[in-house]
Subunit: 294 residues, 2 copies
Amino acid sequence: MGFAEATKEYREKIEAALSGYMDSCGAPEQLRAAMEYSLKAGGKRLRPVLTLYTCNMLGGDVERALPYACALEMIHTYSLIHDDLPCMDDDDFRRGRPSNHKVFGEANAVLAGDGLLSYAFQIMLDAVKADLTENAINAARAVSLGAGVSGMVAGQVIDLASETAENTGIDELRFIQANKTAAMIKAALLAGAYIAGASQEQMIALGQYGELYGALFQMTDDILDVVGDFEGMGKTLGKDEAENKLTYISLYGMDRAKDLASETAHQAVEAISIFEERAELLRELALSCLSRRS
Amino acid sequence: MGFAEATKEYREKIEAALSGYMDSCGAPEQLRAAMEYSLKAGGKRLRPVLTLYTCNMLGGDVERALPYACALEMIHTYSLIHDDLPCMDDDDFRRGRPSNHKVFGEANAVLAGDGLLSYAFQIMLDAVKADLTENAINAARAVSLGAGVSGMVAGQVIDLASETAENTGIDELRFIQANKTAAMIKAALLAGAYIAGASQEQMIALGQYGELYGALFQMTDDILDVVGDFEGMGKTLGKDEAENKLTYISLYGMDRAKDLASETAHQAVEAISIFEERAELLRELALSCLSRRS
């Protein structure tokens, strides 16, 4: 049974909780509609599923982890809405549907993003109020750090800068991937672990896995972007865009990038060896990235 | 001694704390610079000063209220950066300087706003971790509610919609003013009150004052926009813009708007009568709005 199938129950829990949060958010209708349009656009829910899976794996109560999981998904969604804006990546489509600003206009898309980010924190603060413990506040802080100015927002800023800069290389790529992609995945794992009251050793192992899996995720994305182009699958990159974009392929070439992905997947598996068979799905998740590239 | 002069010490505390937070934010240099450009642009610090003043008025420890005060100012600043974007109000200047996107570009301005909002919550979560009490989490929640989808973001969405809608009137204006302006002022007062461990009665009084002062602030802004135009002072509104914009003047005319402002100021003073002379500066702050309009 693959990761997606095995975590179906978690995904259903998350969908139900997200719907409940949106129904009770108290936003004016046009704001709620714009937020919900992107939040319910059929994402895979990777980050919140990782939070619930990790919490359960370590013997924690999945219900207590649910607000932090939903907050992560809202923050991920706000970042996609802002990324798609004309002044950013200028993407007209997201997950096969018109992007938020194409439907609601740019101003409302900016505000829908601001709303989702604000609401994510409101949900976490409510959760901490209901459970005024070190573990709860640490879970909220993990999400905050992953999302913030030394996490996801930092990665986005350097990613944008790298598109116009001349001297960019492996350091920039690693920074972007660690912050834009891996920071939120790591935050998802740590939030679940905090709620379960994980040990320091377990936290370190999960943090390493998150960093490695985030890197791996980016590498296989880069590979698929190019392979997808050659074979007419996946995203279509114009030749100029593909050449200018800082990717693992542009830096290393396809063969070395594939080797790197393979090494990284095995390092990720190694990082969580202390959990033995309990972390079966995390192992599978990392290794499944390698078959994405066929 | 006026409000500004009497609260100089608080303002200095806030400036120092904001500088400290920016120095240790961990953001990449270009992100930090863009955030700081707007955060240190010489605002009056009304909201954070209200937090510290209220906390002290009720016998609380001002130092404990400082993180929430700074978070309020960061959230206020992010909202100005996003408001000024070309897709929103399209303002090239803010406080006499080029607006954030004119200096750093639109994409970085979006991200500087996202960064300030994220960092504001990070600072509050750190403060709650250091002081894991009901009062601390309630202070953070008050800020979150004021800033969020049933507060400031809601007001902004309806404000934008009112600019193009045909049937807008007093209900929309009240909603915009209550959410876009008053919600954050109310949050500032409540955050300080929570940290001081205020009673329910005190909370209600401060909440009412916040709502009334927020309304008053908007009314006198509207009056000054027009008077400023007539006498060549203040903001210059084009005639068409002034006619289409939903304001207290467009709805009531100047004379009735001035009467309303005067009534509202006295209601605000009445709301905080339970604090007697301790709330002297809040009284003065409300009444001073009436002399703004000369």
